[in-house]
């Protein structure tokens, strides 16, 4: 059983919803990422989503774009992200780690080489924003060989008859994008989310996590009541980018927010 599957089993057994923070690897500074990851776990994160910085993050709103830029200013790469994960794994063998990013850095490394290096570093899942099911044949074959889950996005614009095409290729869980737009955009409509999550669940036994518009403890609690888990991204990255504060207190603020969200879910 994969680390992600094991985690969902224990969450279900405990009647608990997953809280999944998203931070960009190397943001705000590469030397604090590993300790930030450990602190997020200590504050109640069930899994970690680590953004791989890319020069052209087309699906991100301004907040996460800036996170990518801060990391790129330190020349953080896919290779250094994997090194960061390997370092985290030295003292945490259990928390699932999901890489989230864009196709080109992986394409450049080569899908086979990436899959092997990612598995070795301790990666459990992969979300590639610009690899829809129509384009994943090659990467899925490589991920299967090394037991990494490929996690797909489903969006409000996904027609119901397309959902099986996605769920049939997916493993680990389904990531439901709660709104039309980029990360960090407008408020989410919990009722609409609930309806779509139900629709997805009628097609698959995979758990469904929801992300893209969760801002605080209240919106996280509302969404968690209709899904298996919540992903919190822009709200954390915004705190990590607060230039009025030291790097240490930015990390402290992000961890505190995650703790608040955890206690509300």
């Amino acid at each position: 059983m994969s680390r992600i599957q094991a985690k969902w089993q224990s969450l279900h057994a405990a009647g608990r919803k997953a809280v999944i923070p998203y931070v960009v690897a190397g943001d705000p500074r590469p030397d604090v990422t590993v300790s930030l990851m450990h602190e997020l776990v200590a504050a109640g994160a069930d899994m970690l989503e680590l953004g791989v910085p890319f020069s052209d993050p087309m699906a991100e709103g301004p907040v996460i774009q800036k996170g990518h830029e801060r990391a790129l200013a330190h020349r953080v790469s896919l290779r250094s992200c994997l090194a960061t994960i390997a370092a985290f794994r030295e003292s945490d063998a259990l928390t699932p780690i999901i890489l989230m990013g864009y196709a080109n850095p992986i394409e450049r490394m080569g899908y086979a080489m990436f899959a092997e290096a990612a598995a070795q570093a301790g990666v459990d899942g992969l979300i590639t924003v610009d690899l829809p099911p129509e384009e994943v044949e090659t990467v899925n074959a490589e991920l299967k060989k090394v037991g990494i889950d490929n996690i797909f996005l489903i969006s409000p614009t996904t027609p119901n008859d397309r959902i099986p095409l996605i769920t049939s290729q997916a493993s680990g869980f389904i990531y439901y994008v709660s709104l039309k737009g980029v990360t960090g955009a407008a408020n989410i409509n919990t009722q609409e989310v609930a309806a779509k999550v139900q629709q997805i669940k009628s097609e698959t036994d995979l758990p469904v996590a929801v992300g893209f518009g969760i801002k605080d403890a209240a919106s996280a609690a509302a969404v968690a009541s209709v899904a298996d888990g919540v992903v919190v991204g822009s709200a954390l990255v915004s705190l990590l980018g607060n230039e009025d504060k030291t790097i240490e207190s930015r990390c402290h603020d992000a961890v505190a927010l995650l703790g608040e969200i955890r206690s509300g879910v």
């Binding site: 052209d56 850095p105 450049r108 829809p132 397309r162 039309k180 980029v182």
Partner: protein, 410 residues
């Protein structure tokens, strides 16, 4: 050059997945997949629909002013003393460039789909102006994304767009040029996908854009082929066009791909020189990767990050290129070469003075290469250059490079 044995392969791309060999495809976020499927469905329905074609042709004739002439550049050819050079005069189109052929086609698709809001990205501003123009004509709301750096160097076109009623959004992320304008347009499209049609300005982006932009621009090559047969009595020996994303080039080339006697040259922006890394020549010096919805040649570093580009011409300042060009390079049908900033500027001045035709700086790259090529050929041979646009928009850039003081301020 090792040409493929079977020339019919050119009519068989893209395949059903939008692939040109390994290039092309649909590398976009899930939110856009159903919009692309809608567009594909509508386009395949309208492509061969006589009423749609009649409306498109009527706009091309009466609004754009087609067919554009094929013109012999006599004095310039005499001066070079080699092959005779002909210009396909896309600069004479309404709004001054080839871009309008495509914006009319896509805006008619938008109209058919009932979309009242159109968005576009632009570099030189020609595609933005052409989009704003047809949006005004069809009564649509138009938003144009343009890199901050391009807003500065193409101020004339920015004001033209505003006069036409478009909202011009200055993009301040990344390198503040065409690539970032395209990122921002994609972000807008994801957010407003229900009521918005994205008019992409070149043969890039996800399938079906590279195919439909090619189809709309192929009117250039179809006309040129007939004009060559009528005016010269035979096919040309060579075609030359500049390549930014590659829409004016594919438009000229596509109807000639099966004519094996015709040598074809696509000219990328060499910037300060391809050896300097300050250029915009992905086919010449790049490697395959995925950006803006398709797999193609890109300017990228060893980590897969997209590199900053440089060209004196805003319309060529792009790190990618249409996927069909990537494939045509690999199969060996088209030769991709470069012209540097200074060569393009020199061609700009020469053609302006010798022919009384002021070309766009993008076009000037094609002219610079055509001059070199012509010199290696004989007066019995002919070259057709796609005169993709006129140069009025570039006079501030040229004045800046030349140190001229147009407003008498110094």
């Amino acid at each position: 050059m090792n040409k493929p044995i079977d020339p019919s392969i050119y009519a068989q791309v893209p395949d059903a997945k939008g692939r040109f060999g390994p290039y092309g495809g649909k590398f976009v976020s899930e939110t856009l997949m159903s919009a692309l499927a809608d567009l594909e469905r509508v386009y395949s329905q309208l492509k061969d629909d006589p009423d749609f074609q009649r409306e498109f042709d009527s706009y091309l004739a009466h609004f754009v002013g087609r067919p554009s002439p094929l013109y012999e550049a006599e004095r310039w050819s005499d001066q070079i003393g080699g092959a005779r050079i002909y210009f396909k005069r896309e600069d004479l189109n309404h709004t001054g460039a080839h871009k309008v052929n495509n914006t009319v086609g896509q805006a008619l698709l938008a109209k058919f789909m009932g979309k009242k809001r159109v968005i576009a990205e632009t570099g030189a501003g020609q595609h933005g102006v052409a989009s704003a123009t047809i949006a005004a004509r069809l009564g649509m709301e138009c938003h144009v994304f343009m890199g901050e750096e391009d807003v500065r160097r193409q101020a004339l076109n920015v004001y033209r767009m505003r006069l036409l009623g478009a909202n011009v959004i200055s993009v301040t992320s990344g390198s503040r040029t065409l690539k970032d304008a395209m990122n921002e347009a994609m972000r807008d499209w994801v957010t407003n996908v229900d009521d918005t049609f994205y008019i992409i300005g070149t043969v890039a982006g996800p399938h079906p854009y590279p195919m439909l932009v090619r189809d709309f621009q192929s009117v250039i090559g179809r006309e040129a082929r007939v004009q060559c047969l009528n005016q010269i009595g035979r096919l040309p020996d060579a075609l030359v066009a500049c390549v930014g994303g590659g829409s004016n080039a594919i438009g000229l080339f596509h109807p000639f791909l099966e004519d094996e006697s015709v040598e074809i040259y696509g000219v990328e922006a060499g910037g300060h020189g391809v050896e300097t890394n300050e250029h915009a020549a992905p086919l010449t010096a790049g490697t395959p990767g995925v950006l803006h919805g398709n797999r193609t040649y890109l300017m990228q570093d060893e980590d897969g990050q997209i590199m900053h580009t440089h060209s004196v011409s805003a319309g060529l300042d792009y790190p990618g290129v249409g996927p069909e060009h990537a494939w045509l390079k690999d199969v060996g049908r088209v030769n991709y070469v470069t012209a540097n900033d200074d060569e393009a500027l020199q061609a700009f001045h020469t053609v302006t003075r010798t022919e009384g035709i002021m070309p766009a700086l993008e076009t000037s790259h094609a002219l610079a290469y055509a001059a070199k090529l012509a010199a290696t050929m004989t007066p019995e041979q002919t070259i057709v250059v796609n005169l993709s646009g006129r140069g009025d928009k570039d006079i501030f850039t040229v004045a800046e490079v030349d140190g001229a003081d147009i407003f008498g301020e110094k």
